[in-house]
């Protein structure tokens, strides 16, 4: 009997407590930086596209919402000719981000993606590319990979040894 009275009193005291509800459209709130929201394509610190069009994200995607076509520029640097994510299919699982070998594809804490027309949820490369390195500042795939592209020969990458000269007899 006493416990019932105490319960009612405790619940009554909750009237003076802070509300838990966030008045969403008017009040914003901060999501953790690793929240899995809208997908973006990031760039190198020097401004080039990070994506090397390896298709690993498209393969990893469980709902097949990523479509892309690989191509190369004249210097041998691979990039996607088009890169398309259908966000009406995307389940924001983050497998594409895990699969990406170059940190190009990243999930962001933005989720305000409502559209009246379903077709508007198909994002093209222009919509996905951002002007920065995203969550990995300073990382540049082409600068540490051993692949030869324009302006960087084999052995000129960071912490990369010069290739062995097979014609030389010196050790």
């Amino acid at each position: 009997m006493w416990s019932i009275v105490k319960t009612i009193w405790t619940v009554f005291l909750h009237a003076f407590q802070k509300r838990i509800t966030v008045q969403y459209p008017e009040e914003g709130f901060n999501l953790p930086p690793r929240y899995r929201g809208r997908i973006i394509l990031s760039r190198d610190p020097d401004g080039g596209e990070r994506c090397v069009a390896c298709y690993l994200c498209a393969v990893a995607c469980p709902v097949d919402c990523i479509a892309l076509q690989a191509t190369q520029d004249e210097t041998g640097r691979r990039y996607p000719e088009f890169f398309r994510i259908n966000f009406s299919r995307c389940i924001f699982c983050g497998y594409c981000e895990e699969a990406c070998p170059t940190y190009a594809i990243q999930l962001t804490p933005d989720f305000h993606m409502s559209e009246y027309n379903r077709r508007n949820l198909v994002y093209e490369k222009d919509d996905l590319l951002i002007n920065g390195p995203g969550k990995y500042p300073g990382y540049s795939f082409w600068q540490i990979s051993g692949v030869k592209i324009g302006g960087k020969d084999k052995g000129e990458a960071e912490r990369e040894a010069r290739p062995t000269d097979l014609q030389s007899l010196l050790p």
């Binding site: 319960t7 009612i8 405790t10 619940v11 009554f12 909750h14 009237a15 509300r19 838990i20 509800t21």
Partner: protein, 318 residues
Amino acid sequence: MSLWSIAVVLGVLFGVLTLAAALIWVERRLLALWQDRYGPNRVGPFGVLQVAADMIKIFTKQDWIPPFADKPVFVIAPAIIVVTVLLAFAVVPFAPGIVVEDLNIGILFFLGMSSLGVYSIILGGWASNNKYALLGSLRASAQMLSYEVFMGLSLMGVVVLAGSFRLSDIVEAQRGLWFAIPQLPGLILFMIAGSAESRRIPFDLPESESELVAGYHVEYSGMKFGMFFVGEYLGLILISSMITTLFLGGWLGPVLPPLAWFFIKTFALIAFFVLVRASLPRPRFDQVMSWGWKTMLPLALLNIAATGAAVLWRQGGQ
């Protein structure tokens, strides 16, 4: 019938029905208040137009009568509860002169009408031809029968003190001291019985969503379902206004006009019932029954005996 009495009838009818509709919003806001939320606050100022939105929704919903139901009874059942509760409002004195019919057996009329309300639930559950509905209405009948017994008995102390069954006389008898103080056990017993009568949450076993889906109104939809809820809210207002009249001095109070005092007290009681709903879980059915018969009924009898003895002793002393 004079113009004034017609005005009172219409005023009570519309006032009470509007209040019952507004309670949808009030209850949701109050529950939210005690659960650290805001409740409906989008439609109109503070969300008051939520009531209008709910009404539009419930009136335009498909009103489905299941083919296996007993059609005439199924249709009549939700109306019974609203009619009986509204009839019970006829004897409630809102202020001196503002009462539909000041019967000299007002309390008995109120008890009779609130007992008739149980037919609505039994018939609704029976006519639905559904085992959950039937179980719900079985529980309702058992619960309401056992709680009605001491509901009536808990009021007899007030009647003994006031010396009348007429509600306006009972209010006048509280000029010196509200009956809530000499009749505190009666007040607590009547509150418990009242919330069991109006099937509110600690005693919503006829409805119990977790075990009986929705209990007696599981087959109801649209406004027929709405009628059960209007009936429940009307019952809540009725119980609160009866407690106000019988124990809290009705319209009596300083400065403010009598009607205002009546509404303040009634609303405070409604808020208290919502608070109880927010706090307490639903007991097991056998606990409800044994609590009613083995604890509340003897307490009510003791209360009458003690009150009667006190009144007689005081008369003998003169």
